[in-house]
């Protein structure tokens, strides 16, 4: 065995020891895992071990979900007047009060509401709204209405509140990293399928190539360079790269292992959203220390022919969430998980000539799970007092974030959001 391989094995062993103790590898130069554990104790928030600790699943409804046909103001004459073709009949909706109710395509959401586990937040938006999908998504993900922040609200949460710098603090099941994960230090990871989130080697002797790959992607080079008293510039960018390389390598191994071990007993649909939530369920079952998962459900840009299409999208969401929550209950993890939906904007109050709706402003969103208090939160936006055909928002989206951060993830929201926003009291 070459010296190189020996070093590599030794490294693996110390990593494993570290993993069982804290599973955090913030700085590899001259620090021991015992020392790290000590350091973690001083932090405001303790790292979760994977078996306890609360989990947030952020569920993006991409394209701009039509809030008015999701949470239907069935008793409002204005609604039926504005939407002669698209309005949901009062008789079909699942009534939540004498004014509004849920689209009939969401029976499970109705059950959750009755069971006490669904918070519906009305009229969520932000000042000076932007109608571009791109810009408005940025606003939501960065929690910055000027959309210029280079970090995201979840990334800032990872940086501020997650102990150590475990790469697995946040996992996004998307091809590219969502802007909300943007962070100074700890951006979490993103991937689509565990089987592809790895170094792919084309030749023979895979295991051996893997060993070499792992050895080359562990810290060392930068430390050596530093020891040699060489170039400061190399040290920093190289050290940064080595850190990400280690994160990638380590998280890839963990995820692959867990995904291959845990299969859920609950049947999920074959839709992309259901598949994503299924994977999240497996990772939770496997005890990953992840605090935030991010999944996306697309297709909500219903400019034309909305009738039927929008219901199908909602039904997909409803069914996927039903399977996911069933799975979590089966695992005994239901009480630890909350799901929050969001969409970059709602749609215009009035329908358009193509039987659809155009980009609008305020919309509704949901927070669901065992720790949630059912109810309607915020004020329903008025259909009489429209702003150039748009609903005016009544609840700042950052209020939802601050509620989730403080009351669910139990961390201070100000360092993450830059200011204090009134909380909604939807966590029990």
């Amino acid at each position: 065995m070459s010296d190189f391989l020996k070093t590599r094995r030794e490294f693996l062993r110390t990593t494993m020891l570290g993993a069982s103790a804290a599973w955090s590898v913030p700085s590899f130069v001259g620090r021991t895992f015992a020392g790290l554990d000590e350091a973690n104790r001083d932090l405001a928030v303790q790292g979760v071990t994977g078996k306890d600790g609360r989990i947030l699943v952020v569920l993006q409804l991409a394209g701009g979900n039509d809030g008015l046909n999701t949470l239907v103001p069935y008793a409002d004459d204005g609604y039926h007047r504005l939407r002669p073709r698209l309005a949901q009949k009062a008789g079909s909706v699942k009534k939540l009060n004498d004014y509004c109710g849920l689209n009939a395509a969401m029976p499970y959401f109705g059950e959750l509401f009755d069971g006490g586990d669904l918070a519906v937040v009305q009229g969520v938006g932000y000042p000076n709204p932007n109608r571009s999908h791109f810009v408005s998504t940025s606003v939501w993900e960065s929690a910055d209405p000027s959309a210029r922040s280079t970090t995201g609200w979840l990334g800032r949460y990872f940086d501020n509140a997650c102990s150590g710098s475990d790469p697995l603090g946040g996992i996004s099941l998307t091809k590219t990293q969502p802007e909300s994960f943007g962070a100074e230090r700890n951006p979490g990871i993103c991937m689509t399928t565990p089987e592809l989130y790895r170094w792919l080697h084309g030749g023979g002797d895979r295991a051996e190539a893997q060993e070499f790959f792992a050895g080359l992607n562990r810290p060392g080079g930068a430390a050596e360079t530093a020891a040699a008293g060489d170039k400061a510039g190399i040290q920093s960018n190289l050290a940064f790269l080595e850190r990400v390389a280690l994160d990638a390598q380590v998280s890839s191994r963990r995820i692959l292992e867990i995904a291959s071990k845990h299969k859920s007993k609950v049947a999920y649909d074959g839709t992309p959203l259901a598949r994503s939530l299924n994977l999240v369920g497996r990772m939770i079952a496997g005890g990953l220390p992840t605090r935030v998962y991010y999944v996306s459900h697309g297709g909500f840009d219903t400019h034309n022919g909305q009738a039927g299409n929008h219901e199908r999208l909602l039904a997909t969401l409803d069914a996927a969430l039903k399977s996911f929550f069933g799975d979590l209950k089966d695992q005994g993890n239901y009480e630890r998980v909350s799901v929050m939906t969001f969409s970059e904007f709602g749609r215009r109050a009035g329908e358009n000539a193509s039987g659809g709706t155009d980009h609008g402003k305020g919309s509704c969103l949901f927070v669901a799970g065992g720790g949630v208090k059912s109810g309607l939160y915020g004020k329903a936006p008025s259909l009489e007092d429209l702003d150039a055909g748009d609903l005016t928002f009544t609840t700042d989206f950052r209020s939802v974030y601050s509620t989730v951060l403080e009351d669910w993830l139990q961390t201070k929201s100000e360092p993450v959001l830059g200011a204090a926003y009134p909380k909604l009291g939807l966590i029990s």
Binding site: S2, D3, F4, L5, S132, F134, V135, S138, A147, R148, T150, P167, K175, T176, Q177, P187, I189, C190, M191, L196, Y197, R198, W199, L200, H201, G202, G203, D205, E208, A209, F212, F213, G215, L216, N217, G220, G221, E224, T225, D230, K231, A232, G233, I234, S236, N237, L238, F240, L241, E242, V244, A245, D247, A248, S251, S252, N304, G305, S354, G355
Partner: protein, 490 residues
């Protein structure tokens, strides 16, 4: 600011990496052989022969009106629609839209391949590198512009002005159709001016935040009104009735400024030269500038009335740019990463069908910048997913598509030309793992590789060395060498 005197092979490689897209050992040696002065001149003054890169057929002026009509269905379909009921018409509309989107996508994919191929083959790499700089600086996305030929025209505008005059380019970009669509100059009227372009002009293009007031933006916006665009020809005209010709006051000056006049006022601000110089330094050097350097370089820019070439020449030649903390410390952008890799492996062009996937996964797709502020450079390129993506791109390119996901492999079957390993590593080199690794290290890293890495490469080579190295085994060694933090730097 002193010019550097040292001139070693790594210096030559550094210049080629930063001023251009790197090159082969042979090219580095040739550049080194010229001597420092001549080498810099060679890179600064290089030009491609006219007609070396014939543009995509659809970009030709003649066909555009017809293409524009097609995006609305063309005469035939539109005539047919007149006799349809509403449902059938709606179906037809959807089909037209689908086809238009598909066509536009194909065109932009083609344009991207054309540009990256040009980066791989050009003899004037600085011009392409600066064309990219301007694309990032005046970032417009096809997502909003939609018409591919306008993106092509803008790309050619950047290329023409690449090493030219910053002020002239800014005047031109204010009337560039893609930009006018992207920042809503089209449709801006003197009665209701849209401030989008005026704001970004000062904030992102010329002065930077904190160097103008909201009132300056409002006044400037008045001048960018009344423009009309013929989408087919790309011709811009100004409707006098919709244009504000009144007196305006901004940045301490008062006059009846038109669009060009506003640009002149802004460029009289000394801050403007500093702003661009900082950005150029960041782009090429990518380390914090030593104290005083930016001011000295900015002075050259101002003295030359915003000619860019003199300031670049001075910058590339100065000791600070060639200092140890600059060399091999810059994180390659995904486009540079790919183009450098192709050039190092002597592969003539990027694999067309794989290109968009590769760039998307690595996080930089030309013509689709994330927003008007351009891409987030440096460490912004790197996260666990993009790093693994970079590694797998290296696998696909070095093995010619043999490594990688099954679906991608199928998709690219027969489409990816792998490197010619007989040329890169002739048989005699394959006999000694140490020699082979040393040669490849120079090809890919152009400098001393830390012991740990070199030993790992050699150990891997020894394990692989049976009777002799096959091309496939060499490809895997190359893939391994590129699957390292070090290879992300240049």
């Amino acid at each position: 600011m002193e010019t550097t005197r040292e001139w070693t092979l790594p210096h030559a490689a550094h210049l080629l990496n930063r001023v251009g897209f790197g090159g082969t050992p042979k090219e580095i040696h040739a550049l080194h052989g010229m001597g420092r002065e001549k080498a810099l001149g060679f890179l600064m003054d290089a030009e491609d022969k006219l007609g070396s890169f014939p543009p995509p057929a659809w970009s030709a002026a003649e066909g555009r009106r017809e293409m524009l009509a097609q995006t609305r269905g063309g005469t035939e379909k539109r005539a047919a629609m007149a006799n349809m009921d509403e449902a059938a018409r709606e179906k037809m509309r959807k089909e037209i839209r689908r086809e238009a989107v598909k066509e536009q996508r194909n065109q932009i994919d083609g344009l991207r391949t054309w540009w990256l191929t040009r980066m791989c083959q050009t003899e004037a790499p600085l011009r392409e590198k600066m064309t990219f700089f301007w694309h990032d600086h005046f970032a417009c996305s096809v997502q909003k512009v939609r018409l591919s030929w306008l993106m092509f025209d803008q790309n050619e505008l950047f290329r023409r002005h690449a090493l030219g005059n910053f002020k002239s380019l800014t005047k031109a970009i204010a009337k560039d159709p893609a930009m006018m669509i992207f920042l809503d100059t089209i449709g801006s009227r003197s009665t209701k001016p849209n401030e989008n372009f005026a704001r970004e002009l000062m904030e992102l293009f010329t002065l930077g935040e904190g160097h103008y007031s909201e009132a300056d933006i409002k006044q400037a916006a008045l001048a960018f009104t009344g423009f009309q665009l013929d989408k087919a020809s790309g011709k811009v005209s100004q409707n006098r009735g919709q244009t504000n010709i009144m007196e305006k006051t901004l940045l301490g000056e008062t006059g009846k400024f038109d669009a060009d006049g506003i640009v002149e006022v802004i460029f009289r601000q000394p801050r403007c030269a500093v702003f661009l110089t900082e950005k150029l330094w960041d782009y090429f050097a990518a380390v914090p500038a030593p104290a005083g350097l930016i001011d000295k370089l900015a002075e050259i820019l101002r003295a030359g009335d915003y000619e860019v070439a003199p300031v670049l020449r001075e910058m590339f030649g100065c000791a600070e740019f060639n200092a140890a903390e600059v060399v091999r410390t810059r994180i390659k952008s995904p486009v540079e990463y790919l183009v450098q890799m192709l050039r190092q492996l002597e592969v003539a062009a990027p694999p067309e069908r794989y290109l968009e996937t590769a760039l998307k996964e690595m996080g930089q797709v030309p013509f689709l910048p994330p927003n008007v502020a351009g891409w987030d450079w440096g460490r912004g390129w790197i996260n666990t997913n993009t790093l693994l993506a970079r590694y797998s791109v290296a696998g696909v390119i070095s093995t010619g598509g043999e490594s990688g996901r099954n679906s991608e492999r199928k998709m690219r079957a027969g489409k990816v030309a792998g490197p010619d390993f007989a040329k890169i590593a002739p048989p005699e080199l394959r006999e000694s793992p140490a020699k082979l690794v040393a040669e490849l290290c120079f090809r890919f890293f152009q400098s001393e590789v830390p012991t740990k890495e070199r030993e790992a490469f050699e150990a891997y080579a020894k394990v692989k060395l049976g009777a002799s190295f096959t091309d496939g085994e060499l490809a895997e060694l190359v893939h391994l060498m590129m699957s390292t933090p070090h290879y992300q730097l240049s």
